[in-house]
C-alpha cells in the first residue's frame, strides 16, 4: 500500500527567515502518506503548522519567506522539497489543487467568478475560450451552485461565505487534480453550511477519485468524512490513525482533542477542554512537546528529542513513547 502512495511526506522540516541571519523552525517533524483517492484529515490547534505544511505541498512557502529545511515531499515520484519552478508549473493547480484558508478571503475580490474560473482553467492550453466558458459553467454545476450564468458575472463580495467556498472548490478541481489541499475550508461558516461543504468535498472524492487533505482544528467535524486522521501538535505530526479507529487512539493529544468534542459533554456539564497552551514556536521544550499538558507524562517524556513515529500498523503511527502504558487508562476514562 505504501509503495503506491500518491504523497509521501517524510520527516519534513520547515523554517522561516526572520532576518538575514535569524531562522526559526516552524515545523520540525511532519510525516504523512496519502493514497490516491484517500481523504485525510489534518488536525491540530492553530499555530501547530498546518498551513505551512499545506504551503509546502503547493510550493508557496517562498512567498512567506519560508523554506523546506529538511526531509522530503514525494508526489508521484517527484521530490517537491527540491523542485524547481518548471516542475511546480506542471504540478501546481494542474495535479494539486488548493482551497485556501478562510472562505471569506479566498477568492480574488477584484475579479468576477467567471474570470477566476477561466484563470484556473488557463493551465490547460488545449482548451479553447468557448470550451473553457462551457467548462466553467459545468464546474459551478459540480459544486452545486444554481443559476451559474448569473453567478459567473458576479464579484465575490456579492456571494455568501458558503458560495465563495464552493467557487474556490470549483477552481481547485478545474483541471481535475489528483490531490486537493483544503486548508480549513469551513472556518467562519455557519454550522449547516460547514456540513454541506464537507459533504461536497466527499462527493467530489467519490466522483473523481481525488485525494483530499482536509485541514481543520475541529476533529469531530472531519472525523466523519475522512478515511485517515493525522494529528499535529507544535510543529510535529504526533499520530496518524484511521478515522474509524479514532477511539483506539494511542496518543494523549488525540484523545484530548476527541474528548473535547461538544456532543460528548454532559448536559449542563462542564465542557472538557485541553489544559494549558501549546508551546510557542521557537520555545519548544526538550522531550515530548505535549509533556506539560499530558495526563500520562513520565520521566522519559521530559528528555531528548521530540519523539518520532512508532509504527503500530500500516494505518496507525503514534509519537507517544508510552502508547502501551496509556492504553488501559484510556479504556476506562472514555
Amino acid at each position: 500500500m505504501s509503495n503506491s502512495a500518491l504523497v509521501d511526506i517524510d520527516s519534513l522540516q520547515i523554517s522561516v527567515r526572520l532576518s538575514r541571519t535569524r531562522r526559526l523552525k516552524i515545523v520540525d517533524y511532519a510525516s504523512m502518506k496519502i493514497n490516491p483517492g484517500e481523504m485525510i484529515g489534518l488536525i491540530g490547534e492553530s499555530g501547530s503548522g498546518k498551513t505551512m505544511l499545506c504551503r509546502a505541498l503547493i510550493g508557496t512557502l517562498r512567498r512567506r519567506d519560508a523554506y523546506i529545511s529538511g526531509g522530503s515531499v514525494m508526489f508521484d515520484g517527484m521530490d517537491l522539497a527540491t523542485a524547481k519552478n518548471d516542475v511546480w508549473r506542471q504540478v501546481r493547480g494542474k495535479r494539486i489543487g488548493y482551497v485556501p484558508q478562510s472562505a471569506l478571503a479566498g477568492p480574488n475580490p477584484v475579479l468576477t467568478i467567471e474570470a477566476q474560473l477561466l484563470e484556473s482553467l488557463g493551465g490547460d492550453e488545449t482548451l479553447s475560450r468557448a470550451d473553457a466558458k462551457k467548462r466553467a459553467k459545468e464546474l459551478l454545476d459540480i459544486v452545486q451552485i444554481r443559476r451559474p450564468d448569473i453567478v459567473m458575472k458576479q464579484y465575490p463580495n456579492q456571494l455568501s461565505g458558503g458560495m465563495k467556498q464552493r467557487v474556490m472548490i470549483a477552481c481547485a478541481i478545474a483541471l481535475q487534480p489528483e490531490l486537493i489541499v483544503a486548508d480549513e475550508p469551513t472556518t467562519g461558516l455557519d454550522v449547516t453550511v460547514q456540513a454541506e461543504i464537507m459533504k461536497l468535498l466527499k462527493e467530489i472524492r467519490d466522483q473523481f477519485n481525488t485525494a483530499i487533505i482536509l485541514v481543520s482544528h475541529d476533529l469531530p467535524l472531519i472525523n466523519d468524512v475522512c478515511d485517515q486522521i493525522t494529528v499535529m501538535h507544535a510543529g510535529a505530526t504526533v499520530e496518524n490513525i484511521a478515522s474509524a479507529e479514532i477511539e483506539k487512539s494511542k496518543h494523549p493529544y488525540t484523545i484530548a482533542l476527541y474528548k473535547s468534542r461538544i456532543d460528548l459533554a454532559p448536559p449542563r456539564g462542564e465542557l472538557i477542554t485541553i489544559a494549558g497552551q501549546p508551546p510557542a514556536v521557537g520555545a519548544w521544550q526538550t522531550g515530548c512537546r505535549f509533556n506539560q499538558r499530558c495526563d500520562f507524562v513520565t520521566d522519559a517524556c521530559l528528555i531528548g528529542e521530540h519523539p518520532k513515529y512508532i509504527e503500530l500498523s500500516a494505518t496507525h503511527q503514534t509519537a507517544c513513547i508510552n502508547h502501551a502504558g496509556i492504553e488501559a487508562k484510556i479504556g476506562s476514562s472514555l
Binding site: G59, R89, G93, A105, V110, I145, R146, R147, M163
Partner: protein
C-alpha cells in the same frame, strides 16, 4: 441543500438589482454635490460681507467723495439688503451668469474660465507625475521585503512630507531657473503643450509631497494585500507576471489611495495658491486672493461656488473609481 439554494437565488437576484441601486446612488451623489456647492457659496457670501471694508470704497480709494462711493454702490447693486443681493446672485447663477467683477469690469465667468484651467492643469500635471512615480515605488518597496529598503523609503518620504513646499519651490527656482535656465522664471501660455514649459517645475514641486503621501498609503495597502490568502490562489493558477501584478497585487490595493488622492486634489485647489504666487501663474487661487483683498463680492462668490462643485466632483469621481477598481468599496 435547500438553504443553500435559497441563498443562491437571493444573491443571484442581487446582481440584477445592483445596477438600479448604482444608478440611484449616482443620482443622490449628483444632487448632493449641487447642495454642497450651494452651501459653500452661502457661507462665502456671508463671510465676505462680515469682513470689514467696502468694495466701492476700496475701488475709489480712501479719499473719495461719499456721494461718489454711494453712486458706485448703487451701480454695483450693493444698495439693496444682503438677502436680496443673494437672490440676485442666484438668479444669475441659474442662467450661468455670475455677475460682473467689481474691480475689473469683467464677467466673473470670464475670469474663472481663464484662470481655472491654469490651476487645473497644474493640479492634473502634479497628480499625473505623482501617480507614475508613487505606484512603482510603492510596489517595489512592498514586494522587495528588504528591511533596509523599507527604512530608506520611510525616512525619505518623511523628509519630503516635512519639507515645506515653498522651500522646495525656491530651491527649484534657484537650481532650474536661475542656474541652469531650464524653466522660465515667470509667465504663462494657455495653450497645450507650450504651457508645460511653465508648469513642469511647479508640478514637480507639488509632486514631491504628493508622491511621499501616496506611496506611503499605497505601500501599506500593498503590504496588507500580500498577506491575503487570495494571492496564493494567483500563484497556484500560474498567472503570468504583469497580469499577476495588476489583478492580484495592485488592483486590490489601490482603492484607499484613490479615495485619498481625490480629497487631496480638492484641497490642492486652495493650496496651489502658494505655487501660483511663487511661479507667478495666473491661476484661480491668485484671482481669489485679489478678489478677497478688494472685496470683490461677485468674484469671491463665483470662485467659491466653482470650488464647491469641483471638490465634490473630485471626491465623487474618486469614490466611483475606487468602486470600479475594487467592489469591496462601499459606494
Amino acid at each position: 441543500m435547500n438553504t443553500v439554494n435559497e441563498k443562491v437565488n437571493k444573491t443571484a437576484e442581487k446582481g440584477v438589482d445592483n445596477r438600479k441601486v448604482f444608478a440611484y446612488r449616482v443620482g443622490i451623489r449628483f444632487i448632493r454635490s449641487i447642495a454642497v456647492a450651494f452651501w459653500v457659496t452661502v457661507i462665502a457670501f456671508t463671510l465676505i460681507r462680515l469682513a470689514p471694508g467696502d468694495p466701492a470704497q476700496a475701488r475709489l480709494g480712501a479719499a473719495a467723495e461719499p456721494e461718489a462711493v454711494e453712486a458706485l454702490r448703487k451701480q454695483l447693486g450693493l444698495d439693496v439688503n444682503p438677502l436680496e443681493q443673494f437672490f440676485n446672485f442666484f438668479r444669475g447663477l441659474i442662467k450661468g451668469d455670475m455677475g460682473i467683477s467689481l474691480q475689473f469690469d469683467r464677467e466673473v465667468t470670464d475670469i474663472i474660465f481663464t484662470a481655472l484651467p491654469v490651476t487645473l492643469w497644474l493640479i492634473g500635471f502634479s497628480v499625473l507625475i505623482s501617480i507614475f512615480v508613487a505606484i512603482p515605488i510603492a510596489l517595489f518597496v512592498a514586494t522587495s521585503n528588504n528591511v533596509l529598503i523599507a527604512y530608506i523609503f520611510r525616512s525619505t518620504t518623511a523628509i519630503s512630507i516635512a519639507l515645506p513646499n515653498f522651500f522646495i519651490a525656491l530651491l527649484g527656482i534657484l537650481i532650474f531657473s536661475i542656474r541652469y535656465n531650464w524653466a522660465p522664471l515667470l509667465g504663462y501660455t494657455p495653450s497645450f503643450p507650450e504651457n508645460l514649459k511653465y508648469l513642469w517645475l511647479p508640478a514637480l514641486v507639488n509632486a514631491t509631497t504628493l508622491v511621499a503621501i501616496l506611496s506611503r498609503v499605497l505601500y501599506s495597502s500593498i503590504s496588507d494585500t500580500l498577506k491575503e490568502e487570495f494571492v496564493e490562489t494567483g500563484v497556484i493558477r500560474g498567472i503570468k507576471r504583469p497580469r499577476f501584478f495588476w489583478f492580484y497585487i495592485l488592483k486590490p490595493s489601490l482603492a484607499p489611495t484613490v479615495v485619498l488622492l481625490s480629497y487631496i486634489m480638492g484641497v490642492m485647489l486652495g493650496t496651489t495658491i502658494i505655487m501660483e504666487s511663487i511661479f507667478a501663474l495666473p491661476g484661480i487661487g491668485t484671482e481669489l486672493i485679489t478678489a478677497v483683498i478688494s472685496r470683490d463680492y461677485p468674484t469671491v462668490q463665483g470662485i467659491t461656488f466653482i470650488f464647491g462643485i469641483i471638490v465634490v466632483f473630485f471626491s465623487f469621481f474618486g469614490d466611483l473609481m475606487a468602486y470600479w477598481l475594487d467592489r469591496r468599496v462601499k459606494f
